[in-house]
Amino acid sequence: MIFSFDLLINAVVSGILIGGFYAAVTCGVSISFGILDIVNIAHPAFIILGSYVAYIVNTTFGLDPILTAIIVTPLFYALGAGIYQVYYVSFEKRGQESLRGLAFFFGLLFITEVSLVLYFGVDYRYVDAAYIGPSVHVGGLDMPLRILVPCLVSLLLIAVLQFILKHTFIGRAIMAVAQDHFALRLMAIDPVRIKRIAFGISIATASLAGAFLIIIQPVEPSVGREYIGRIFAICVLGGMGSLPGTVIAAMLLGIVESLTSTFYGPSWAPAVSFGLLLLTLAVRPSGLMGR
């Protein structure tokens, strides 16, 4: 492999762009796993579900995938709130979240994937939009719009989430429930309600992340599995529950993956996130911006 400066810069830039997308994929888990301590390993399945919703609406009505995703967020929110209610009643209340709660989410992941396979088959699906195809050229840099647009919208999404968490009543209550839910009761706030809202928000982000995913690459039901390692690697590396940390970690992973596939070949890229996860757990389990 001939080393070239141009190649390196391009790899880094595309890593940062894809990292922006990874941040959108991860922010839901940063809320559910990082703040609420709910190990939602089914998150990638909801993202794939989001992709398929965007696909169906796009192919039948020709609506823009990102717009579709924003429109269906309330549905995903309701789905998330419903799932949390089941999770709370069946596991959290009984103190069984560590073994059976995990198995529950694993079951959900599995059921979603198999149902999608049964209904849509294992063909790759894709969407149409004006920004899929053309690229922006700045100097020697080559930025495909199909990655640039999701990256920018994703950063906007994270900014909105961060604003909600830091500056609204509900957001501050969500941050508080992570620390001390007894204190929350003393303030006459129902911690279960706050957690339900937070989990709903976390699943709602999956709708957007799903739309981004199907814009960036064709999707089939088992694609989500590749993201499990990435999501949790980013979440842990960023420091549990920190959204700015999530963005930094996501871009870091994006850069490392992009360099790996440029210089060693794309078939090695899935191993990068796992290596990063193990390294983080071994060296600094609290992550980059951990509390």
Binding site: F33, V39, I41, V86, S90, F91, K93, R94, G95, Q96, S98, L99, R100, G101, L102, A103, F104, F106, G107, L108, F110, I111, E113, V114, S115, V117, L118, S222, R225, E226, I228, G229, F232, A233, V236, S267, W268, P270, A271, S273, F274, G275, L277, L278, L281, A282, P285
Partner: protein
């Protein structure tokens, strides 16, 4: 019951099963039975870590495939007899389990679960990039037609899996009634309290991960001979992971009986469903059963039976039965 007696009973049962399968007269029984027995080993192995210690392993497929691929690696070099391959596959998987456990088990339980979830993806990446064992094209293993005393090779494979299943069940039961098992139970019930009372929790967890991983690797070692053509995406398939979790949770996780019941029930059900309906539908059934059982019957079939047998008159207060296992209401 003493362990030698226990083992003897199981040998008699195993002999009866083998004789019954031969008497059936159709070799398809061996093909289907092999898969069920393989799940007995996998779910018993999963339960040693998951049921006894309370740590969830989502990477059963990775450990299973490690065993299978170590067989392929050795086969390409020199075809050894299967019992030796079993030892080798078990050693490789056990070591990987130990290493990963060492990195992640010092932290909260969730990290271990997540790491095992990602393990399958990474192992698959490694295998796909490793041309020696066939890479993404897959590897062929030529199965001999006959083997000296038993005859047909599939019967030989079936017999090996049968003995492995007996060994796995005996190991699980041995652990259950030993100091090790009580140590595991303290970890499952309250790790902090166990640590504070001087239980060497990390060491026990590592022992459990190693034994469990090794058994899964052993279950995978004869697999290339069974399937004939080993391919990464099917060997690392999610169905191994979901089955080895679903079977113990549906059967019941607290004793060796649960995974056995779960594996036999679910394994046979799937064999029948694969033939009569389709393999995707039967995986959907397993997923739904798993979710249904963890919500409705947290202690599985064994728990349900136990509860039914233990209904005593004094459990009834007035006309309502009081559940002795019910937790205190939340404050």
């Amino acid at each position: 019951m003493r362990t030698p007696l226990f083992l003897l009973i199981w040998f008699v049962i195993a002999a009866a099963v083998f004789a019954g399968a031969i008497a059936f007269g159709n070799d398809y029984v061996f093909f289907a039975g092999y898969v069920v027995l393989q799940y007995v080993v996998l779910s018993t192995a999963w339960n040693i870590l998951g049921g006894y210690c309370g740590y969830v392993n989502f990477g059963s497929a990775a450990f299973f495939a490690l065993g299978a691929y170590s067989t392929v690696a050795i086969y390409k070099f020199y075809p050894l007899p299967i019992p030796l391959l079993l030892v080798f596959g078990g050693a490789v998987s056990g070591l990987v389990g130990l290493g990963m456990g060492y990195l992640t088990l010092r932290l909260r339980g969730a990290f271990f679960a997540i790491a095992t979830l990602a393990l399958a993806v990474v192992m698959e990446t490694l295998v796909v990039n490793w041309d020696y064992v066939g890479g993404s094209r897959g590897a062929y293993i030529i199965r001999p037609e006959e083997i000296a005393p038993i005859g047909n090779y599939i019967r030989y494979l079936f017999l090996i899996m049968l003995l492995l299943a007996v060994a796995a069940i005996t190991t699980a039961r041995l652990i259950e009634h030993s100091r090790l098992g009580y140590g595991f139970a303290t970890i499952r019930d309250d790790e902090l309290a166990a640590e504070a009372s001087g239980v060497p929790t990390l060491r026990l967890k590592l022992i459990a991960t190693t034994i469990s991983g090794a058994l899964m690797g052993m279950a995978g070692a004869p697999f290339p001979y069974y399937i004939g053509y080993l391919q990464p995406s099917s060997t690392f398939g999610l169905e191994y992971a979901v089955n080895s979790i679903a079977m113990p949770l549906i059967g019941g996780t607290t004793s060796w009986v649960g995974p056995l019941i779960g594996a036999i029930l679910l394994g046979s059900l799937q064999q029948i469903a694969t033939v009569t309906i389709s393999s995707a539908v039967n995986l959907l059934i397993v997923g739904c059963l798993l979710v249904g059982f963890v919500i409705v019957a947290p202690n599985g079939i064994v728990g349900l039976v136990h509860k039914y047998l233990q209904r005593k008159p004094d459990d009834f207060v007035g006309r309502r039965r009081v559940d002795p296992d019910a937790p205190e209401p939340a404050p």
